[in-house]
Structure formats: structure tokens, C-alpha cells
Symmetry: C2
Subunit: 274 residues, 2 copies
């Protein structure tokens, strides 16, 4: 089957158009899409270039393209609308309704490009990232007093990427501490963690998935053996239930979903809004 | 002025609703919004709870709420639509058009909740994150042969968060190497970087902003002095122009924008789609 082209058009990064479009096209599982992002369309020349790219993608007789657009500037929008394809535009649909509700004219300026970016939000995200790096994997700083949340779980349960995502996306201070044989043998958590008990959040994982992830890293040895991963997962779950630590099963979710569930479950406030 | 409430409703993380809503409400600069995300509305009970939350926010006489919704499930959608407020729903608007174009019925299933999450994408993002961590700040591994891109720039120009964002969001292998007095005195890049010249990408920054960022970290000393940051920025720009290294001025952009511009400029392919 010839793939149908899907384009994400933006005068900025394209993240909004991609997010919107992706949430819609994943509703149609029988399709095979070829996805292309065309960001930074902020001049009429670039808009005309985008039209050529879109039209060229259909020149071979493949099905009509779908175009998700988040262009704000009137001239560029008018140009890209001339491209062949089903044109879906969030500003077309929602902006007038909002303007009427708010009794204010929209600025028609690309979202974030108002001169200096927000240094306050930028700094918060950078500092949160530095915090995550310094407090990764039980790291020596163990600056848990200022942590918003401390993730615990076995090796390769997703602690590091989740902490980094929480930092970059939300400016949240997330530390993490690995559960290893030391904790499993004692059957309890170390004192410095229990002092922060209300900040603890667990990442659980199904043994099969954990084995699969560990094999990708280190194919041989007991690290990824079925017996070892089953043992670690069982002992981890015991610790979670002994202390009543809220936890999420990372087997089923993407990093975004895990992060979002942690915020939702803990009530930790995001320091920045993406 | 009483703040107007804006709600982002989702049966998943809320990231799509937030992204969409944020791109729209930032078009109205005269407003003062109170933003709340209500994620994981995947039962009728939770939908009714959301309605109560939304209605309660307007009980004090503040202006009518704005509700951005990305709920897919019919029953939950019908319930939340009953809340007071201007209800804006991307599925209402776009799903039927898409279904007609694609000649397929939408699944009406929450975006990513089809059982196991995509282990392949998950692994790619984790491996890319590990790569970024191992190759951060000129790190010892210097595994530049497999890097997709190598960012260079002065200390605090945004290299680390950008590499991590590229890894987490796109699965891209991004290393970074700091430009310091060593490079400035010689006026040239080390040989192991020049061997990878086509992968180099520069982060530039305005001296004032660099000083401001460095002061937040370490208020005293020459590190953040006007003279020092001007010197480093000037020498960095010389190196960029000497070798013709493409670069982006991080003063003006958020981490997402910097990352997106790097992909756009280098043509590096994303390994996963968010």
C-alpha cells in the first residue's frame, strides 16, 4: 500500500502540530502514514516551499496528504492552505471562539517568539535538570531535603529518564535511589530514605519486561536472568506494600505517562508549564 | 482582576490538551489565567468529578472557564461537556473529517493505552539518554562515532539540557563538549572533534544572558564577570565562524525550540516520534 503523507506545519518548533496530529491519527490503526514535520515556516517564501513539498509528496499517486497546521501569521496560512491535502488548522477552528469569549483580539504572533525567552522558566528547568543529575542513582549529593519526589525501583525500571523528564518538562526536582540486594536482604529501606518517606514514589515493572530491557543492555549473566528479575521485582513490591509507597507499573506506560501519573498521584506542583 | 480558569482535560497525560491550549491562550496577552490539568479521566466517575472541579472554580464569580479537552471516550466526553465553560475539543472538530478522508472509523481508544507500550521506542529513548549522560560535558567515553550530533559551546550555554531533551523527546544521540580556555588559547578545536566536524553544532548565547545564568549558579568570582563572559562568547563565535559550524543563539529560545532548530538545521532524523 502506498503510504499517505501527514505533514505537521508550524511557524515554531512543530511540537504542537505534532502532538495534536499524533493524538488524532493514532485513532486510525488501519493506516500507514509517512510523517514529516515542517517547522519554522515564518516567511512567505518558506510557506511556498512547504506547499511544493506537500504537493510533491502526492505526485506519485499516493493518497491525499493530511496537513496539521499551527501557523499563526495570516499571510503564511493563506499560502499553505493552497496545498493539496486535507487541511486541519487549530487556529482556524478555535481562535475566533476564544477571541469572542475573552473579548480580546489575538496577537497573531508566533507563540513563544516574543524576544527573550522566559529566563525564569529556563533557569528552573536547568536547575531541576542539574538536581536530577546530581541525585541520580542514589548519587553522592543525596540532597533529598529539597527534592519534590524521590523515585525508587530496581535497576532499569526507568528511574533516570523519568527524573530527567520531570525536570525538563515540569521543572520538578526528582531524585532517584536504586533498590538492590542491600535493601532486599534487610527487607527495609535505609534511614535517610525513610526520613523522606512522604516523598518516595515507586516504579514497578513486570519481570518479563525487566528481563527484556536488561538483555538489551547486557545479554549474558544473572543480571537479566528470569530468576533474578523475578526475585528483584517480588522483593521490590514487598517493600512498596510494607511502607505503603505509591507506585506505577512502568511496563505499560511511556516516560511522559509515567511522569504525568507521578505528578497526579503525589500532587507535586509543576514549577513550569511547558 | 479575578483570574479566568483554564482546564486541560484528558483521558491520558494531558500533554496534548496542554500543548494545544497553551498555543492558543498565549495569543491573548491581556488575560490572566489560572491553569489546571485534569489527567486520566477514564471513568464516568472521574468525568463527573472533573465537572465538579470546573464548576467550583467559577462559583466565586470569576469569569467563565475555558476547557480544552482531548477525551476520546464517548461517555466521558458527554459528561464533561455539561460543565460550565467554553468547551473546546479537538476530537469534536477534527475526528469526523479525518474519518471521512481515511474511510475508517476511529477506534475511540485513548491514544497510547493499547496494552504494552512501545518497547522499541522506549528502549531507543533510554539508550539515547544513557548516551547523552555518558557523553556529557566532554565526558570520558567520547563515543562520538555513534553520535548523531555533538553540541559545542561555553559552560552554561544550555548543552546538557538540550542533549537530554533530544534524547528523551526524539531518541537522538547527542554528545556535548565544552569550549574552555584550552580551545580559546589555541584558537582551534581538538583533533578528535575536527574528525567529526560534520556532526558539530554550536550553541551561542548573548554575553548578558550568560552572565545572568552564571550568577544564579555562582554569584561571585570571574566566572560570571562581564569581562569573562564577553571574552568567552567572542572567542566561541570566532571558532564557529572559522570552521563554519552551524549554530543557534540560545538566548532567544526555549529548550524545545533549540532542539527543534538543531534537528531542522542538521537534518538529523528523529529515531522516535513523541
Amino acid at each position: 500500500m502506498t503510504k499517505r503523507s501527514v505533514f505537521f506545519l508550524s511557524d515554531q518548533t512543530g511540537v504542537t502540530a505534532e502532538t495534536l496530529g499524533h493524538s488524532l491519527i493514532t485513532q486510525f490503526s488501519a493506516q500507514d502514514f509517512r510523517q514529516t514535520t515542517l517547522p519554522f515556516i515564518d516567511t512567505e517564501d518558506k510557506a511556498r516551499e512547504a506547499v511544493q513539498t506537500i504537493n510533491a509528496a502526492q505526485a506519485d499517486g499516493s493518497p491525499r496528504a493530511i496537513v496539521f497546521s499551527t501557523l499563526v501569521q495570516g499571510e503564511c496560512r493563506a499560502i499553505v492552505k493552497e496545498a493539496n491535502g486535507l487541511y486541519l488548522d487549530i487556529f482556524d477552528v478555535f481562535l475566533d471562539q476564544l477571541a469572542e469569549e475573552l473579548q480580546e483580539k489575538p496577537s497573531y504572533e508566533p507563540g513563544r517568539a516574543h524576544g527573550m525567552s522566559d529566563i525564569d522558566a529556563y533557569m528552573k528547568r536547568i536547575e531541576a535538570t542539574n538536581f536530577a543529575l546530581a541525585n541520580d542513582d542514589g548519587g553522592t549529593s543525596r540532597n533529598y531535603d529539597v527534592a519534590d519526589v524521590i523515585l525508587i525501583g530496581v535497576s532499569r525500571s526507568g528511574k533516570t529518564p523519568t527524573c530527567l523528564y520531570l525536570a525538563l518538562q515540569y521543572g520538578v526536582y526528582a531524585a532517584n535511589y536504586p533498590l538492590t540486594d542491600e535493601e532486599f536482604e534487610r527487607g527495609e529501606l535505609p534511614g535517610f530514605l525513610l526520613k523522606q518517606k512522604e516523598k518516595l514514589f515507586g516504579l514497578s515493572i513486570e519481570p518479563e519486561r525487566l528481563g527484556q530491557i536488561r538483555k538489551e543492555r547486557r545479554a549474558m549473566g544473572s543480571y537479566s536472568s528470569a530468576q533474578q528479575v523475578r526475585f528483584e521485582v517480588r522483593e521490590t513490591n514487598k517493600i512498596f506494600s510494607r511502607y505503603g509507597i505509591p507506585n506505577v507499573d512502568t511496563t505499560k506506560f511511556s516516560i511522559e505517562e509515567i511522569s504525568s501519573r507521578i505528578l497526579d498521584s503525589t500532587g507535586v506542583e509543576r514549577r513550569v508549564r511547558a
